[in-house]
């Protein structure tokens, strides 16, 4: 065995990486075009193997009446298992991911996804449980859901939550329907919901589906809701306001208490879009800011993997006066229920329909395995760890803000929260290199790009959210890469226009995709 001293000597002697933690995934991504699985197909080839069951083998014409019988089989690819593995593995090599490198995509909180959560999601006692099994046979699941609801309420400062919404936007619409039901119960029909001009696009889309009209309020010169403009649009026709805090500029709405008072004054409700909850864990709670309805994006804040675009989970927590309206059925801990150590009384947990429920918003109980992952993440971190998460996320974003201040424009030059919004406006004006070019050029350096052109109120926006799981060395490498791109552009080098060149494909003709729509293999001309 090596002694600690020996180990230290070895470590000291080893060459130090130039920028430890730097992602270098671009050269690893596969560059050869991969045929579709349909082009790999050979009739008669197969990989399927099914259990021997001994069930009588009636032919299909004895099982399905002719008018319902399929006359031509569904054409699918016919490949060997080896080809199947090769195809999807090669496709995976053409895909950037958090596990490959830094992914500072603003507003998406692309933090590291701990592998312990993968282990939880495949436990047979969770993964192989039918959602329609009665509560008496699923006490463990109900207990898990109740535990998650309780801890989410502690984090947000709310009274109760529904875990059904499958993503943030589903949570938004659920929240708006809660708003609607609340006002209706008070005998009121209100028509408008206020949204700041910096809001995510899902907010206005959800408002429309909730049966409301959008009233937009502008941001002031400090990047926050313009209080004067807000007071002008507030009246008793306003059902509520949807806010993200910190907002999409990465700035804390310092006047949130005044906003809450003004909205409550006219009988409106405050909806908290939890997209940016990561910034404030353990520091301040939406409930304490005056919010009535809060959605969380568990795939952002609580690190459940984003899956290439989902699944997520968008639980909605509410204040006391909205609890009776929550979607049902809700898992609840029965009063007087007995739980001793590891043994569950079969009736300790039950499904209950809230008295004035807006109804179901999911086929079953929500994205249950995502919920189990999130609980695992929360329990590992605990109350102390979640606060560290917020601190490190904000520390990282501010470090980048100061480091890049002379490199890009900083439209709102004051301390930010978990993300910083920069602008390539000057770069575009003086050197014709746009935010999009910077994003594409950065891909060549092995980083995922920041979010670009959002929020809409910032010209040539670059929205950078490093997250707390990236190291100082990675931040340095990211900043160096961004700075080098700008220096290159200022020197008259127009490489960025042609970027990316080292990625699996170069810049894509998006207009052609829309013009000559080919959305299936069969639509190829």
């Amino acid at each position: 065995m090596t002694s600690e001293t020996d180990a230290k000597q070895i470590a000291d002697a080893a060459p130090r990486p130039a920028a430890g933690g730097r992602a270098a995934s671009a050269p690893l991504l596969g560059r050869a075009t991969e045929p579709t699985i349909f082009e790999l197909s050979q009739p008669g080839r197969r990989s399927v193997q099914l259990l021997t069951t001994g069930v009588p083998e009636w032919p299909v014409d004895e099982l399905v009446p002719v008018e319902h019988r399929r006359d031509v089989p569904v054409r699918l690819a016919e490949v060997s298992e080896r080809d199947l593995v090769g195809h999807f593995t090669r496709l995976s090599h053409r895909q950037f991911s958090v596990d490959l490198g830094a992914y500072p995509l603003g507003s998406c909180t692309m933090k590291y996804n701990p592998k312990i959560c993968d282990a939880v999601a495949v436990l047979p006692g969770l993964a192989a449980v039918h959602p329609g099994a009665p509560a008496s046979l699923t006490q463990g699941w109900l207990s898990l859901l109740v535990e998650l609801e309780e801890v989410l309420c502690a984090i947000t400062g709310m009274a109760a939550a529904t875990l059904q919404p499958a993503a943030g936007a589903a949570g938004e619409l659920t929240g708006l329907l809660l708003m609607r039901a609340f006002h209706a119960a008070n005998g009121e029909q209100r028509h408008r919901v206020i949204i700041p001009d910096s809001a995510h696009g899902t907010n206005p889309a959800s408002v429309t589906l909730g049966g409301y009209e959008v009233t937009t309020v502008p941001s002031d010169e400090r990047g926050c809701v313009d209080m004067g403009a807000l007071r002008e649009v507030l009246d008793t026709d306003v059902a509520g306001i949807m806010l993200t805090n910190p907002n999409t500029l990465g700035l804390f709405e310092e006047e949130i208490a005044e906003i809450a008072a003004a909205v409550h004054e006219v009988g409106g409700l405050l909806y908290y879009d939890g997209a940016n909850l990561n910034a404030i864990l353990g520091v301040v709670r939406p409930g304490d800011m005056g919010f009535d309805i809060v959605h969380m994006n568990l795939h952002k804040t609580f690190a459940t993997p984003h899956g290439g675009g989902g699944p997520g989970a968008g639980p909605v927590a509410v204040s006391e006066r909205l609890v009776d309206f929550l979607p049902g059925p809700r898992p609840v801990r029965r009063l007087g229920g007995v739980s001793e150590g590891n043994t569950f009384s079969p009736s300790e947990f039950a499904w209950v329909e809230p008295s004035r429920s807006i109804g179901r918003v999911h086929s079953w109980h929500g994205n249950a395995l995502v919920l189990a992952r999130a609980l695992t993440y929360i329990l590992v971190h605990g109350s102390d760890g979640l606060q560290r998460v917020a601190e490190r996320a904000v520390l990282n974003a501010n470090w980048l803000r100061v480091r890049l201040a002379g490199v890009f424009d900083v439209p709102f030059d004051r301390p930010c929260m978990h993300e910083v919004v920069l602008s390539a406006s000057t770069l575009r004006k003086e050197h014709s290199v746009k935010a999009l070019d910077v994003a594409k050029r950065l891909l060549e350096e092995g980083f995922h790009s920041p979010t670009v052109y959002f929020p809409l109120i910032v010209d040539e926006a670059l929205m950078i959210e490093p997250t707390e799981t990236e190291s100082l060395q990675t931040l340095e490498a990211l900043a160096d890469a961004l700075e080098a791109i700008v220096v290159e552009a200022r020197s008259g080098d127009q490489s960025a226009w042609a970027a990316p060149r080292t990625t699996p494909v170069s810049r894509i003709d998006e207009a052609r995709a829309a013009r000559t729509l080919v959305a299936t293999f069969d639509a190829r001309r």
Partner: protein, 461 residues
């Protein structure tokens, strides 16, 4: 103290110094003091992974209905199909798992191409030319389909067969509170929808008809009847379909459905207590610009190489905001990729074989059960292919509890699904005594025989 944070104390000090700060607390100076959470969050401090895993394992152990303890005969949109190791291995690749929406398509060709292949497969299953990149689940796909149907027909009256899954109808009703659609539930008789006569029905001329194929009681219905009515009313036909049954039954698109939605869980996703699942959505080309959510299209890069990208983006919320066709952003992409892999594994013959085996097991079990005293048919002679409803002599919840003691998850109680006793799909008495039983290709003849023997006991007084 447990976390995944890389910062050393020295680095934190250096970073703070770089910012001109001396303490982490100062990072939050913009948060008004009066709002700050004094004393931090009030729940347990962090625990190392093994401690947490042990706790979650305890919870998992408390689920009696897990598949390795109770043999699963429950369905209702969630089925115990084979998901082989090869599919789990590929779908679990971290490139697919830990990426996000392909906002930078040049480094997201893997997910984009897999979704393109998925769209192709779903379109073929549905018998329609185009399918989207996924929605949350079957019920939410139905909500989007009805929104599309109302927009296309210009009429808010929607006739919904009560053969549509009761939970899905409940979700439709929830969201109709916001959209203002008028939902009118149409009753079933012996498992077949009884559409109103040609003199019209309640609520004026419908803009959308919704029917299940098979319906939630497992029955195949004459969709041609619904199509003829749609033609008469100028209405859109929305069909809910099962992607495995589609291996041997006609595509709803072949019957003339304008939109086909379904629950994609049977395509490679485990039971998982109801999620994450996968909403399937396919429609005619005439409606493609009303399609909800993401759509992947094929194009080329600057060097003429084949490439994929999300397209027709002008429909979507981040571009169109309050005028978008849907508010969907994050969907169920990983489940869509999984479905593409599962369908790749099944192949043309495999999908048909799985569907056929389900139908064989269904027939074998149903015939044997109907021989028992205390068991009677609930849907007349309606054809069934992957699940069926029975009337038991004792209430179904009691049957399920008794069968659990014999090692079976016997099925779903209709009263639990309906959440009451009278929804028009079955009579109140059938609802309380109705048991919905599903048989997949994973059930052996020995299990079916043992189930029959156990149910014989369970339905006695």
């Amino acid at each position: 103290m447990a976390d995944y944070l890389p910062h050393t104390d020295e680095e934190i000090a250096a970073m703070l110094a770089f910012l001109g700060l001396s303490h982490l607390d100062e990072l939050f100076d913009s948060v008004p003091e009066a709002l700050r959470l004094a004393g931090g969050l009030r729940f347990a401090e962090g625990a190392p992974e093994p401690d947490v895993l042990a706790h979650i394992e305890q919870l998992a152990d408390a689920n009696r209905a897990r598949g390795d303890r109770l043999v699963c005969f429950a369905g209702g949109g969630a089925y115990d199909h084979e998901v082989p190791p090869v599919v789990r291995a590929l779908a679990g690749r971290s490139e697919f798992v830990t990426s996000y929406t392909p906002y930078q398509p040049e480094v997201a060709q893997g997910v984009l191409q897999a979704v393109f292949e998925f769209q192709t497969m779903v379109a073929r299953l549905a018998g329609l030319p185009v399918a989207n990149a996924s929605l949350y689940d079957g019920s939410n796909a139905l909500v989007e389909a009805v929104n599309l149907g109302v927009a296309a027909s210009g009429r808010r009256t929607v006739w919904v067969s009560t053969g549509v899954h009761p939970h899905w109808r409940a979700v439709l009703a929830t969201f109709a509170a916001g959209t203002g659609h008028e939902l009118i539930e149409i009753p079933l008789h012996e498992g077949q929808t009884v559409w109103p006569g040609d003199d019209g029905g309640p609520g004026g001329t419908p803009g959308v008809l919704v029917a299940g194929y098979p319906n939630y009681l497992g029955c195949l219905e004459d969709l041609g009847e619904a199509r003829r009515r749609c033609d008469g009313y100028g209405a859109m036909l929305v069909a809910t379909a099962d992607p495995v049954a589609a291996g041997i039954v006609r595509s709803p698109g072949d019957w003339g459905a304008d939109v086909v939605v379904g629950e994609g869980q049977p395509l490679g996703t485990g039971l998982g207590f109801g999620g994450p699942y996968l909403g399937l959505f396919a429609c005619t080309m005439a409606q493609v610009r009303r399609l909800p959510g993401r759509l992947v299209g094929e194009t080329v890069d600057t060097e003429g190489r084949r490439a994929y990208v999300t397209t027709l983006r002008a429909r979507e919320q981040d571009i169109r905001r309050e005028k978008a066709t849907s508010n969907v952003c994050t969907n169920q992409t990983l489940m869509a990729v999984t479905a593409a892999i599962q369908l790749g594994w099944l192949g043309t013959a495999g999908l048909a074989e799985v569907a056929l085996r389900c139908a064989r097991g269904t027939r074998y079990l149903r015939e044997a059960l109907l021989e028992l005293d205390g068991v009677s048919p609930l849907t007349g002679n309606s054809p069934v292919v992957r699940e069926f409803a029975l009337r038991c002599a004792v209430p179904a919840p009691v049957v399920i509890e008794r069968m659990a003691d014999q090692g079976f998850l016997a099925g779903l109680a209709l009263s639990d699904l309906i959440g009451g006793d009278d929804d028009g799909s079955v009579s109140p008495d059938d609802a309380s005594h109705g048991l919905l039983v599903a048989v997949t290709e994973r059930r052996t003849r020995a299990e079916l025989d043992a189930y029959v023997a156990a149910l014989d006991k369970a339905v006695r007084g």
